[in-house]
């Protein structure tokens, strides 16, 4: 009994420890960058589904787990007008090269 409560106390301290670690990460900005990329990628989710998982039966494809090279080729072709589209040729022109790369990387790594 005593040993269990000992573990619980230490476990809680351990959680606090993790939180401090998370705060410390802000110094290098990687947690911030991850959040910003996630929010940027979420600008696609309105049509392509949360975290790139489209609703069942959607004619608009999900993006999660899409091959990185394929997706990059498609996005650039939409943007330069070589791939015909209804709306994607207009939307892709609104993003910078870096933003397109970030979105691409995010969804290629996302779980389907």
């Amino acid at each position: 009994m005593r040993s269990i409560s000992w573990f619980i106390s230490w476990g809680l301290l351990g959680s606090v420890g993790f939180a401090s670690t998370a705060l410390a990460q802000t110094a290098n900005g990687s947690a911030s960058k991850d959040l910003h990329t996630r929010a940027l990628a979420a600008t696609c989710a309105n049509c392509h589904g949360t975290e790139g998982n489209a609703a069942p039966g959607s004619a608009v494809p999900g993006l999660a787990g899409m091959n990185k090279v394929q997706m990059q080729t498609a996005l650039k072709a939409f943007r330069d007008g070589t791939r015909p589209a209804t709306v994607m040729h207009q939307l892709t022109k609104g993003y910078t090269d870096q933003q397109i790369d970030d979105i691409n990387g995010y969804y290629a790594a996302a779980k389907r």
Binding site: G11, G14, S15, T43, G49
Partner: protein, 429 residues
């Protein structure tokens, strides 16, 4: 070995922490929480999305309470198809349950009657008080009934409907159209911009005409617009009216409604002659939802809420973020459901950053895609991308981006149906 045991314990406890917050959520209907790290008011496209994305962006570490009076979400986008007769209310309705069950949002079915920005708490109509660290307010629009004499009473009697907030009035207006004899007139009046959903009234005219064409071909649709011209997709809508609804839809600009006479079903205008119709849809001017106005957050002409566009934090009160149709918009930013969903993600990321000691995104992005059904199958769209400009502290559309459909087409009708499914899921599931 001992170390591994220790880690297991803390992992288990972390799991327990999440589990217990989910458990508290399940009890929401039994007791209203007295405090929330993030309190979201209003469960429309803005509020529901913000609630879900604060949970997701914080990796489910920040607790979220959502106050919403309705039992389920009824979508304004696609609701014109109920008037046209190709969709029913069930097709445009989504339950709030998944926000609770899947995302651990605590749902409180009530309305906020008062915000105390200094004490950082809200009072609910039911009497309870909830304290917050961050308030996300997404109250939608209020119809300014007093801007048109006689309209409030005519609406309360059920005679002149708005059906602009999708819900029971949507179905009631469909019933009015069904009961109208062939050869009758449906007239819609449009207030001066800005109002919720710029292309909505023109899409509605198309949907009603589409129904008339099939069921009541001698009937007419009159569009009486307070604006100088069609405010959204003008060339495309005019082409559709001329080609698909010739002699049925008539568009008249510069018609600002000032009064209605319920006895004769007549609308009076500032300059033009009175118009009588069998079914009247009179849309008054709009402003931010009442709670925003009452709380002095509507600091743009007393109608809309100025926000810091990088975070959507009110310029009138700290730690209150305002979203969706209720804000004073940046140039070329429409008041739409898609835009509200976009606002919500920027605000959610900013709130999570602020509460977690992370940097606020220096360059947030918003998108808008708006589909209008011009008949039961064909659609036209307008799309835009808005990048935050740090120097001018506003969102600007990117030159060369965005645009319109080339012409009405069925392929976009299919995409519009998918858009609806995906944005409902993205906001609520």
């Amino acid at each position: 070995m001992q170390r591994r045991h220790f880690l297991n314990q803390s992992t288990a406890l972390a799991g327990l922490g999440l589990g217990s917050s989910a458990f508290l959520s399940a009890c929401a209907n039994m007791s209203t929480p007295s405090k929330a790290k993030v309190l979201v008011v209003g469960g429309g496209y803005g509020g529901a999305t913000a609630a879900k994305y604060v949970r997701m962006f914080s990796n489910y570490q920040i607790d979220v309470v959502l106050v919403e009076p309705n039992a389920s979400f009824v979508s304004c986008p696609m609701s014109n198809l109920v008037l046209g007769g190709t969709k029913g209310m069930a097709d445009i309705t989504t339950a709030y349950d998944a926000l609770k069950d899947k995302h651990g949002v605590t749902l409180v079915r009530d309305m906020v009657s008062r915000i105390d920005a200094n004490a950082k708490s809200v009072t609910l109509a039911g009497g309870a008080t909830i304290a917050y660290d961050k308030l996300i307010l997404s109250p939608g629009i209020d119809l300014m009934w007093d801007s048109i004499e006689g309209l409030k009473a005519a609406n309360e009697s059920g005679q002149i409907l708005q059906a602009w907030k999708a819900g029971p009035e949507t179905l009631a207006m469909r019933r009015q159209l069904e009961a109208m004899p062939d050869g009758g007139v449906f007239a819609i009046t449009i207030p001066e911009a800005p109002y919720r959903c710029p292309p909505g009234p023109y899409e509605r005219a198309c949907q009603v005409a589409s129904y008339f064409k099939a069921a009541k071909p001698k009937s007419k649709v009159l569009i009486l617009d307070a604006n100088q011209d069609v405010t959204s997709k003008p060339a495309l809508f005019k082409k559709v009216w001329a080609e698909q609804y010739k002699g049925m839809i008539e568009y008249r600009p510069q018609h600002k409604a000032t009064a209605v006479d319920a006895k004769t079903n007549t609308v009076k205008f500032e300059v033009q002659e009175d118009i009588k119709a069998q079914v009247l849809n009179v849309l008054p001017s709009m402003r931010a939802g009442a709670i925003a106005v009452q709380s002095s957050l509507a600091n743009a002409n007393g109608r809309w809420c100025h926000v810091n566009y990088q975070t959507f934090e009110s310029t009138a009160a700290k730690d209150i973020h305002v979203l969706g149709d209720s804000i004073q918009v940046a140039p070329l930013m429409p008041k739409s459901g898609h835009m509200a969903n976009s606002h919500a993600k920027v605000a959610a990321a900013a709130v999570v950053a602020q509460l977690s000691g992370l940097e606020i995104n220096p360059s947030p992005v918003l998108t808008n895609t708006c589909y209008s059904f011009v008949n039961s199958k064909e659609v036209i769209h307008v799309a835009s991308v808005h990048q935050y400009d740090a120097k001018d502290k506003t969102f600007k559309t990117v030159p060369g981006s965005g645009g319109l459909s080339a012409s009405p087409n069925e392929l976009e009708g299919v995409y519009a149906e998918s858009w609806a499914k995906n944005i409902w899921a993205d906001s609520l599931l």
